[in-house]
Symmetry: C2
Subunit: 289 residues, 2 copies
Amino acid sequence: MTINVGFIGPGIMGRPMALNLMKGGHKLWAYARRPETLQPLTAAGATACATPAEVAEHADVIFTIVSDTSDVQSVIFGEQGLIRKARYGTVIVDMSTISPTATKDFADRLAEKGIEMLDAPVSGGETGAINATLSIMVGGKTDVFERVKPLFECMGKNIVHIGGNGAGQVAKACNQICTIVNQLGAAEAMLLAERAGVDPRAVAEAVMGGFGASRMLELQAPKMIARDFEGKVESRLHHKDIRIVLDLARAFGIELPASAAAADVLERLQRRGGARQDSAAVFSVLDTA
Amino acid sequence: MTINVGFIGPGIMGRPMALNLMKGGHKLWAYARRPETLQPLTAAGATACATPAEVAEHADVIFTIVSDTSDVQSVIFGEQGLIRKARYGTVIVDMSTISPTATKDFADRLAEKGIEMLDAPVSGGETGAINATLSIMVGGKTDVFERVKPLFECMGKNIVHIGGNGAGQVAKACNQICTIVNQLGAAEAMLLAERAGVDPRAVAEAVMGGFGASRMLELQAPKMIARDFEGKVESRLHHKDIRIVLDLARAFGIELPASAAAADVLERLQRRGGARQDSAAVFSVLDTA
């Protein structure tokens, strides 16, 4: 069944995701703050819209994947926001990584107008977006999740309905704890191996066969060893995410010491001018210490 | 080819490892500080010895897997130690997790007597020991590694020759960084999910599909969620290991912030009386904070 789909935010992640929705046979209405970034989508048959409101005029399910909480807020509630034209029953699916608390608030405000919302942040990076193998963590009502599921299946593989509105963002925050902490652990292990005069490749291979194995070690150790920090997942995004985590921890009165340690290293990386470097560059913070 | 094998330290790990060596067709001479712990090995055909020296009288390749650096030292160099009876060309393979620096020193002292040494610490826990799927990280000469390799293959799957003497222990230290740090990350993620009122099982499932995936999350999240901290890998061992890591870091003048955070949590767990609990009990330190 062809669905009229809206898409807002065709960045590194959003562009391949939108293309995969079109490959799935769906009609796409797209908006970007910088209209030139829509070109790959219009070339594939999408209709460019001048405002989020215009997207909402045509689409029944609208995906947003933008940088942070304030971007989501203005896309939905801004002067030209989705809410101006969204109809009763329209579904807004936010795939950005933002605050779970703000997400719940957005969902409540939309519900008052009969507009449904899902939070559906992703993990798996650009490769996962291109190959439609993203992990998608969804918060919202079960029946809305079921309606949108065929569209999620165009973009991802491990699609988990976590709970009510905001629960997807909580899961993503937890995902980022593991991602960011494991990455720092990998950096520390690779650095120690090097300083001890031992081949870090052999160490990474050995560790991948035992209890220390992680997706981050597998993906990031080669970059750290090669000092290849060209931005794929830029460190500023991890920095933003770990601050969401620590804000939540503060709100719940819990202590997350490994996350706090990682936040500190990411903070130092930002101050050193590494915001646009790949998150693997946390290695370089320790390497020069 | 049947090899005359020595085995010292038939604990939770050592016992199944020794049994797997016998299953491989090798003759076993075994010693334990508490002789009654040798019973499962003698029942399978091993010969009990009264001292390490007696093991060295009979065996050409001798495996040791004991608790810490001082235990290895007394097994090798003590009054009844291996060195009293080991012959020129005897190979001592230490599979304990101990200091890389001390290991190098032991190897040098043994070399003076024509005794070969490998350090070959393992990862994979009791299950890996029973199923002969351990990851084995080996330091020492290549020709000695090649000679012992068939015996390693009776006990493990991912057998990596890392480098010279001590390199196996460096790799194990790196492995423990990843293991212990990833476990703390998993604990923080599971705790945040619970406090946010979200099903931690669903979160763990989602995270395992993305960049946050790790062997520790997979194995330990269920224990944390169930508050099942019965000792498998006792936290005192992680505590010992992370102190080896921080000693190395100090020696090399590097900063390992995630390892330091994990060491602090493990230290608090020891002080709370959790030394014999499973290392997953780091969760409980944060849970009551």
